[in-house]
Symmetry: C2
Subunit: 371 residues, 2 copies
DNA sequence: ATGAAAGCGCTAACAC
DNA sequence: GTGTTAGCGCTTTCAT
């Protein structure tokens, strides 16, 4: 009899149709009692509790979360609003969010703004999309009733003008915001840029060129600040003729490098503000008949997947994308619980990855000839 | 007065606290009437309808979707269960799903199984994860009450043993399933592989090597079938000494190519079953002092992002990932509506992208010297 | 310790 | 054409 019961238990499948009411009847208790044991919200007599547990297993009961959400006015769902899931940092950030959120029994409602299609990289047009953003936020908040929103940017820019009358936590990941009503978690630009040039200094480089990103953008400015700090701290002067303004794209890396190559005295190293421009620079160097890193060292930023398939493998800076996601989720969750830590702008450290495109400045001596 | 009212309308913010009841009171009608106009579900007198519309705008009312879901037993949400969002095909597939689903006013509940962490590419262990998968499905279905599930695979393998007692549509994207209870939408492997070797034939190649993926996997077998078909249709024999078994990873592409290079007569072209192995092969060729495509043509599969940063740019096969996502969503939506088209296994065509690693076999004549 | 019952916000009979 | 109202499945107050 007991054995039979066990077997019966096994073959039962979860079913959407069984409710708390039926479980209650099966266990011979009230629905309230069932609710108490499910949520551990009140003491119930051990034997009753067991009867309930058995009834749950026997019936394959799974609580209807939407009914619960309606009742408790809390969905245990966080809305993840991404500018574009195809944007290179986005999946890794979502990965981090997902990992953290799952631990707390929250779910993710994903909304993809699909900005890459409509923008074609015209960053300036982004602000035109504010309405679309605010509409999505409204839907998430007042329609789906998510408990918090994580906004995942792509462009590491300052987000402003987002609905400020919102009554739920909003944390911005990757991008930043001047608006102190929101939390933002982003990565270190300045210190790591300084570290990158220090790495070049250590290798003996002094004539260091930099290919910047779009000059007015926040990351370009912050990276530049780090670079300048490293120079001034080392008492070395940065030759302004050696800084060329790119636009984050491959082609600009290529053309900036061409310009650099036409100078009277060549740089011995170049810091490109992202990997795309770094590849462009490498190609330009190669086409000019020079070699990386023997003639010119190059260092990128982002550690894109392709960095490791380049020849030689690209020395670059890795952003802890997953860490950003985790911390963003952590922050959202804490704010929901009201244990907000206060600090509104969090920064995750970045990391320099030394690969093969940077080498010591030694004229006419190949890397392979070094000890 | 009118003008003032307009201004007042403008500054009103959406608010989560206003319910249909308050709108009804504001408009001087019943909640039923409000519901009728919101959902266009019954005729209402034009002036009443207008009063309701005004009241909605004035109050900033947004329907509480969780209440509605509970009532109509339908969440307008589709659960997207991905094996790992970091898997290369996944974001593009989600992109396609998102685009399609948004049009029909559905939302996406994202669940990331994060298999990459736990698997380390031990495909065989995947089956051990069945429990985890089924648990996630149960949660989505019976907890969150999604209306359908799209399972996004990474490994293009046959999915079996998934909960078969489910009462909601389940469509498998990218992977396939023998289980005819589910729809699956995947991409073309066989025809496009045949087309790739035909491309090589057209270029005059006859000694064509192939570096396969893990031999027992479904895509490896299907691609091989396409290759063999192309050979037999052309009346050319495939030298079995020229097919080497790789494992999808870079290193295997490299080592297989090394073996190939040690043969008495070299192949003039090699078809690697993915881009990773293609790069490995290219590197081996380069290290052996030979040149791509002058000495050996190479062709990959997947059109990974890095394909375009290689030297020369990789000729490869592009899978229409976004199309897979769109069709998967379309299928799920149709099944929800009961307008299921019947066909359980859908296949999206792939596309050959001719870039610079394939060239005509002409000994001692460089590509650039051709007309 | 337990249960009866109200009510979360909405929709859809059903009655008028 | 419009309103009344029951009820979706759950939690939680309030009695007991």
């Amino acid at each position: 009899m007991i054995a039979m019961k066990k077997i019966t238990d096994k073959i039962v499948k979860p079913s959407s149709s069984v409710t708390i009411k039926e479980v209650a009847k099966l266990a011979g208790v009230s629905t309230a009692t069932v609710s108490y044991v499910i949520n551990n919200t009140k003491n119930v007599a051990p034997e009753k509790r067991q009867r309930v547990l058995d009834a749950i297993e026997q019936s394959g009961y799974t609580p209807n979360l939407v009914a619960k959400s309606l009742r408790v006015k809390k969905t245990n769902t966080i809305g993840v609003l991404v500018e574009d899931i195809m944007g290179y940092p986005v999946p890794a950030i979502i990965n981090g969010i997902s990992e953290r959120v799952e631990k707390s029994d929250y779910r993710i409602l994903l909304n993809d703004l699909r900005m890459l299609e409509s923008l074609f990289n015209q960053y300036d047009q982004i602000m035109q999309q504010k309405n679309k953003i605010n509409e999505a936020i409204s839907l998430l908040l007042f329609g789906a009733r998510v408990d918090a929103i994580i906004y995942v940017g792509m462009f590491d820019r300052n987000i402003t003008g987002i609905l400020n009358e919102i009554n739920k936590p909003l944390v911005i990941a990757y991008s930043t915001s001047d608006d102190k009503n929101f939390h933002s978690v982003t990565y270190d630009n300045e210190n790591i840029s300084a570290e990158a040039v220090r790495h070049l200094f250590d290798l003996g480089h002094r004539r260091i060129a930099v290919i910047t990103g779009l000059a007015h953008t926040s990351p370009a400015r912050m990276r530049m600040r780090g670079i300048q700090r490293a120079f001034s701290e080392a008492g070395i002067v940065l030759d302004s003729a050696l800084v060329k303004n790119g636009d984050w794209e491959y082609a600009s890396g290529y053309s900036c490098m061409i310009e650099l190559l036409s100078e009277d005295t060549l740089p011995t190293a170049v810091f490109a503000m992202n990997d795309l421009m770094a590849v462009g620079a490498m190609d330009a160097i190669g086409n000019a008949g020079l070699r990386v890193p023997e003639d010119i060292s190059v260092i990128g930023f982002d550690n894109r997947e392709f960095a490791v398939y380049l020849h030689p493998k690209l020395t670059t800076i890795e952003i802890d994308l997953k860490g950003i996601g985790q911390l963003a989720a952590e922050t959202a969750l804490n704010t929901i619980l009201g244990v907000d830590k206060g600090e509104s702008s969090l920064i995750i450290p970045s990391r320099l990855i030394q690969r093969k495109t940077t080498a010591r400045v030694v004229t006419a001596v190949k890397e392979s000839a070094l000890p």
